[in-house]
């Protein structure tokens, strides 16, 4: 029996430590992992817990990220709680198996510490890996700080493992900005955290020897469409209500309020920035400064990236006159993904908002408050004129001649 880890009410943890403690408290049965910057400390911390008697489960030190996720899939199909962590190139190597995990309806939890994808090689945080995963059939939850990472990890097990859902979840945090920045984290005791998640309830488990089951079949044109539709249906209809329910219970337990779409200063906002990750908090600081000056500038943070809360986002932005979507991933040939998502959410509504797109922070480049002030200024002029007064897509924080498109 694993020892109880006595936590203080408040700990000073970086995002990686927050994730490690959440995995420990979840009493994960099998962790199979391969270290990669900046997610490495998650598995190092876990190894440390293991070495000191705080873990009962198995810990597989795989030979690659692909091998790690492959072991996770086998372990999950066998019937138990499974989690791992990765970043960037490792995430890319895993990608094939990510589709397998979701298609096989296996509730694996993957901590993705977001990092750029080379070439050129880069170890710092941007959202390239998160974006690469967005069609893989996983639930994707985004965190802005270590507290979020802790809470969302606990929540992820509870949501993923629900028998109405049975879909894997990625818990995203920004490489270094969140993963290596120590901040105050309000903890739950081991008991309370575990009970919030609940016991693992097996389903279609290979280790139920009286009920043999075949996992990972081939489905051709007569069947494939129906199975993919069923998977999409679960992602679309069951996940958001279950996350909301978990948010509500978490609020009772911890006093912390999470929302499917996080809106800050949005009540009568005329201009808004939509962004993800640690940028949400920076944008909020700027928003507060502007608000103090009487400028109605708000921030919308994406909390649940997949399934995409299309209706809730449209609702959050309905009163805005100008909106900027901030994408921290090279769009490589089109507008940023978030621009497309938000445009899609707003298109059939009554909005007359002007929508623009900023590409920022690639490879870990800081998103400065100065840049955010510039963006809000441009939004104000868009709101005033009712037209796009800037190019549709602009690179911000980039050296050299101004780069923009459309």
């Amino acid at each position: 029996m694993a020892d109880i880890f006595e936590l203080r009410d408040y700990e000073v943890w970086d995002g990686n430590m927050a994730a490690s403690h959440a995995l420990r408290q979840a009493q994960v049965d099998v962790v199979a992992a391969y270290p990669i910057t900046p997610s490495t400390p998650i598995v190092e911390n876990y190894g440390n817990f293991m070495a000191n008697g705080y873990i009962d489960g198995e810990y597989i030190l795989a030979e690659s990220e692909h091998g790690a996720m492959s072991c996770c899939i086998g372990a999950s199909a066998a019937g138990g709680r499974v989690a791992t962590a990765t970043s960037s190139q490792g995430f890319a190597l895993m990608l094939e198996t990510l589709y397998s995990a979701s298609g096989m309806r296996l509730p694996i939890i993957l901590n993705v510490v977001n990092r750029a994808i080379g070439a050129p090689l880069n170890v710092n945080g941007d959202h390239s890996d998160m974006y690469m995963g967005r069609d893989s059939g996983w639930i994707q939850i985004d965190c802005y700080n270590p507290q979020d990472v802790y809470d969302m990890n606990l929540l992820a097990f509870r949501v993923s493992e629900d028998h109405d859902i049975r879909l894997p979840t990625m818990v995203h945090q920004d490489g270094f900005m969140t993963s290596h920045t120590a901040q105050r984290v309000k903890t739950l005791s081991d008991d309370v955290a575990y009970n919030f998640i609940g016991e693992f309830k097996p389903m279609n488990d290979m280790l139920d020897l009286d009920h043999p089951v075949t996992h990972g079949v081939q489905t051709e044109e007569d069947w494939h469409f129906e199975h993919k539709a069923r998977q999409h249906h679960a992602l679309m209809s069951a996940v958001i209500p279950k996350i909301q329910e978990a948010f509500d219970e978490l609020k009772v337990l911890s006093g912390r309020q999470y929302n499917i779409v996080e809106s800050y200063n949005m009540n009568d906002a005329e201009v808004a920035i939509v962004c993800m990750g640690s940028s949400v908090e920076t944008a909020l600081e700027v928003s507060n400064e502007l608000l103090a000056k009487g400028i109605k500038a708000g921030v919308v943070g994406i909390r649940v990236f997949r399934p995409f809360p299309l209706v809730e986002i449209a609702d959050a932005l309905k009163s805005c006159k100008a909106i900027a979507t901030l994408d921290r991933s090279s769009p490589n040939g089109t507008v940023g993904a978030l621009f497309n998502e938000i445009a899609g959410a707003l298109f059939n509504t009554n909005t007359h908002a002007v929508l623009t797109n900023y590409i920022y922070g690639l490879g870990g480049r800081d998103l400065t408050k100065a840049s955010l002030h510039t963006i809000y200024r441009e939004l104000e002029s868009n709101a005033e004129s009712g037209n796009v007064t800037t190019p549709l897509q602009q690179f911000i924080g980039l050296r050299g001649p101004k780069l923009s498109f459309f």
């Binding site: 298609g103 309806r105 296996l106 043999p212 075949t214 079949v217 129906e226 539709a229």
Partner: protein, 134 residues
């Protein structure tokens, strides 16, 4: 199952070989198993065959070579005795005939449409044609 809509399949496209619970399938012979419709056992591949093996019981010495080398679980052996061929699952490869050690052979290949009674009656004659290849 082909009529089923998207909401009528098990999630994760899992398949179950049996209907309900099985305790220890390693000691239960097919006739006593509750196969599900999803088990390939429930399907026939008889139409794959161009030729079929016929079995002449009187010549069989129950060596079980045909049983061990049959790739399609189609040699029915019970209590150490060869009983016959499972024509739902036999693909007509002919391995059983090749490995049959008796002279004349207790298993021979015939066209799929051949009449079993007639061929069994003519057995020795067929035998002499077949064995010269071996």
């Amino acid at each position: 199952m082909i009529e089923n809509g998207w909401n009528q399949f098990e999630i994760g496209s899992v398949l179950r070989p049996f209907s309900g619970e099985v305790s220890d399938v390693s000691v239960i012979q097919p006739e006593d198993r509750l196969y599900s419709a999803s088990n390939s056992f429930s399907v026939s591949v008889a139409d794959w065959r161009i030729e079929k093996p016929l079995f002449k019981k009187e010549l069989c010495i129950d060596c079980q070579f045909c049983w061990i080398y049959c790739p399609d679980m189609s040699i029915i052996s019970r209590d150490k005795k060869m009983i016959g061929v499972d024509y739902d699952h036999c693909k007509g490869c002919g391995i059983c005939v090749q490995v049959c050690p008796t002279t004349p052979k207790a298993l021979l290949m015939f066209p799929e449409q051949a009449d079993e009674e007639i061929e069994l009656a003519q057995w020795p004659k067929k035998e002499t044609q077949e064995t010269k290849e071996n």
